[in-house]
């Protein structure tokens, strides 16, 4: 590690670094974290994929995790939403320790943590509207659901037009929008997005990220993992670089974007 690069700890909270926080969000330096992951270990079978992984998301932030194939990005998100069990470490969401309390995945959604999984995973045979209704499955307030449906349709007007079409008939970009919209229907405080740009045309990726920033402006915090490092870092307040299950770098989006090592390894320069 060269001295020019801010170490993980200092970059994260150093007060000198300008934080491009959104309008109403409190300064991350003072607020308590929305999501705190400490020394997380998780994996499949005999293999540990994540090694003492730590990260934080403050209210109002967009945080990006970038990394190569197989670095453990998807596993990180799956572990946070409880689908892959954590073997060690803590995951604290809004002050509740998800790992210690052993909260199952379907309860984690109720706490306000929604996950749009990799590859979109919409329900192809349900209509767009039914997909969105499934997103609100945990909720029991018809008025609130109707209001959120309206919000989601404002965010993604195309979905309003396609309400009655089955999800499988949407184009890739529309499916990604539907996947994000469906996750939003749970009215999350934190949205986990797994590769929102996967398999989409560049212009559509731009559009998706515009929407992510728009909904962040509306108060949703976002933790996203991406292989498209440039797009992710440009649009994120902070970022982490994940290599073989370890966080090797962290900093603001701009810092990482200009970090020579990130540029060499992930931005193709």
């Amino acid at each position: 590690m060269t001295a020019a690069v801010p170490s993980a700890a200092s970059a994260e909270l150093s007060p000198g670094v300008p934080q491009p926080a959104t309008g109403d969000a409190t300064s991350p330096a003072t607020a308590s974290p929305l999501l705190l992951v400490e020394d997380l270990e998780a994996g499949y079978g005999p293999i540990n994929v994540l090694h003492r992984l730590s990260l934080t998301v403050y209210p109002g932030e967009i945080v990006a995790i970038i990394g190569a194939n197989g670095a453990g990005k998807t596993t990180t998100l799956l572990a946070i939403s409880g689908i892959v069990p954590a073997r060690a470490g803590r995951i604290v969401f809004q002050g509740r320790d998800l790992t210690a309390e052993g909260i199952p995945p379907h309860e984690i959604v109720r706490l306000g943590l929604a996950h749009a999984p990799e590859g979109r995973k919409i329900f192809p045979r349900l209509t767009v509207r039914e997909n969105l209704d499934m997103g609100a499955f945990t909720r029991n307030d018809p008025d609130g659901i109707a209001a959120d449906l309206e919000k989601v349709f404002t965010l993604f007007p195309i979905l309003r037009q396609r309400q009655q079409q089955p999800g499988g008939l949407l184009s890739g970009g529309e499916q990604q929008m539907l996947a994000i919209a469906r996750a939003l229907m749970a009215r999350p405080k934190l949205l986990l997005l797994d590769e929102p740009s996967l398999g989409l045309a560049p212009q559509i990726v731009v559009h998706i990220f515009q929407v992510i920033r728009e909904l962040n402006r509306q108060g949703v915090s976002v933790l996203l993992v991406e292989q498209n490092a440039r797009m992710a870092l440009k649009n994120a307040h902070r970022g982490y670089v994940l290599e073989t299950g370890r966080i090797t770098l962290s900093g603001t989006g701009q810092q990482l974007l200009h970090d020579p090592r990130v540029r060499a390894a992930y931005l193709g320069e």
Partner: protein, 396 residues
């Protein structure tokens, strides 16, 4: 006419309801219809598990058997229970549902083929348990005679009041009383399935069938949903078993609950259209109707025509061959079934979806190309040597 066709299920139910009043009606034929209704209930139970939730269960006959034997044990004279049919039928539903939950809970993690194998084993275990638990089930003889009244304190005998025809029975378990009871039960089960399909639970089942990971991400509890499906489906199958035992007034030969029955039910569900309750009803009426009613008629016709009763001239000897052929032909030419669930048809005929999807993608590209031109910050995705442009995307 078109409206009539759209509501053919209602029309069919009305026709079946007036059948005993028609001059052509016969008691023997009516009893065959009763069996048809019972198998249709069983098929709806499988439809909940297989069609709606997508669990390939190869042992539905086990729940049918548990229902039948629960009624047998609770009503026959050599056991001390001597309950009425209503009580025994409720117990049968509960027992079958319980058996479903208890046998499925340990195997919830299994999917697809593995689940199918374990459920196949379940069917065999129940069958051999029945055959070998002589003191309880009377082994291969079966339990009987079942001679219970319909309700506690009501024997249901000598029902003279509305005897219209000479071949109508005098007891509640005779035609046409039991015919109407089974028809009503079938109607109730159809309504139950319809309501389930439109309920939160039903949609959750469909979502689970589509994608378990995504469903979990939506806050659905896959384990509980699968158990609920098996409990409801198993309970419906148990009800069918209860009616079956009462219709025979005996639990019959245990071989009636073997793998062939499970397979036949899967054929009915697939022939009619998985996940479509009306399709499953049609499939059952066609297959079981052929098996139970048409073959015997045809056998008699053939024998009368040829003048011999040689075994190879009996159509009923070829029943499994014919079912297999039907299944193969269906899989080849109409895998979604005669009356497919709208959703499943799409999956099996992707060529239509692909065409529409391509058109949608092209439209989307054209649209975003148009809007991107006016958007304030088109991203220089390939101009990676110009980091200055990054500032365009600051958050302020």
């Amino acid at each position: 006419m078109k409206r009539l066709l759209q509501h053919w299920v209602v029309v069919l139910f009305v026709l079946l309801a007036v059948y005993p009043l028609l001059p052509v009606a016969e008691a023997t034929r009516g009893e065959q219809f009763t069996h048809l209704f019972i198998y249709a209930i069983l098929a709806q139970g499988l439809n909940i598990v297989l069609g709606l939730t997508g669990l390939l269960h190869l042992g539905i006959a086990a729940f049918f058997a548990i229902g039948a034997y629960t009624v047998g044990i609770l009503t026959v004279s050599h056991f001390p229970f001597q309950q009425s049919f209503a009580v025994a039928a409720v117990a049968a539903v509960v027992m079958a549902a319980l058996a479903g939950v208890l046998t499925t809970a340990p195997i919830l993690r299994l999917r697809g083929d593995y689940l199918a194998l374990v459920t196949l084993g379940l069917g065999l275990i129940v069958l051999y348990a029945i055959r070998n638990l002589d003191p309880i089930t009377d082994g291969t003889k079966g339990l009987g005679p079942i001679d219970a009244g319909p309700l506690p304190g009501f024997s249901g005998r000598n029902l003279e009041s509305w005897r219209l025809k000479s071949d109508w029975g005098r007891n509640w378990y005779n035609y046409p009383y039991f015919y109407y009871l089974s028809l009503t039960a079938l109607g109730a089960v159809m309504l139950l399935v319809r309501n389930l399909e439109h309920s939160r639970l039903g949609r959750a089942w469909v979502a689970l069938r589509e994608d378990e990971l995504a469903a979990t991400c939506m806050g659905l509890n896959p384990a509980r949903l699968k158990l609920a499906a098996i409990a409801v489906g198993g309970g419906v199958a148990g009800l069918a078993g209860a009616l079956y035992a009462m219709a025979l007034r005996h639990t019959g030969n245990p071989q009636a609950y073997d793998f062939t029955l499970s397979m036949l039910m899967i054929c009915c569900v697939i022939l009619g259209g998985m996940g479509n309750r009306n399709g499953v009803l049609l499939g059952t009426f066609l297959l079981i109707g052929f098996d139970r009613i048409l073959t015997s008629i045809l056998d008699n016709e053939i024998q009368a025509w040829v003048g011999s009763a040689a075994p190879y001239l009996k159509l009923s000897g070829y029943r499994l061959l014919i079912f297999g052929l039907v299944l193969i032909l269906m899989m080849r030419f109409r895998p979604e079934g005669l009356l497919p669930a709208r959703r499943i048809q799409r999956e099996l005929h992707p060529e239509y979806d692909e065409a529409v999807g391509r058109a949608a993608a092209q439209a989307e590209l054209a649209e975003t190309a148009a809007t991107a031109a006016e958007s304030p910050a088109p991203l220089p995705l390939h101009a990676s040597n110009a980091p200055a442009s990054d500032t365009q995307h600051s958050f302020r």
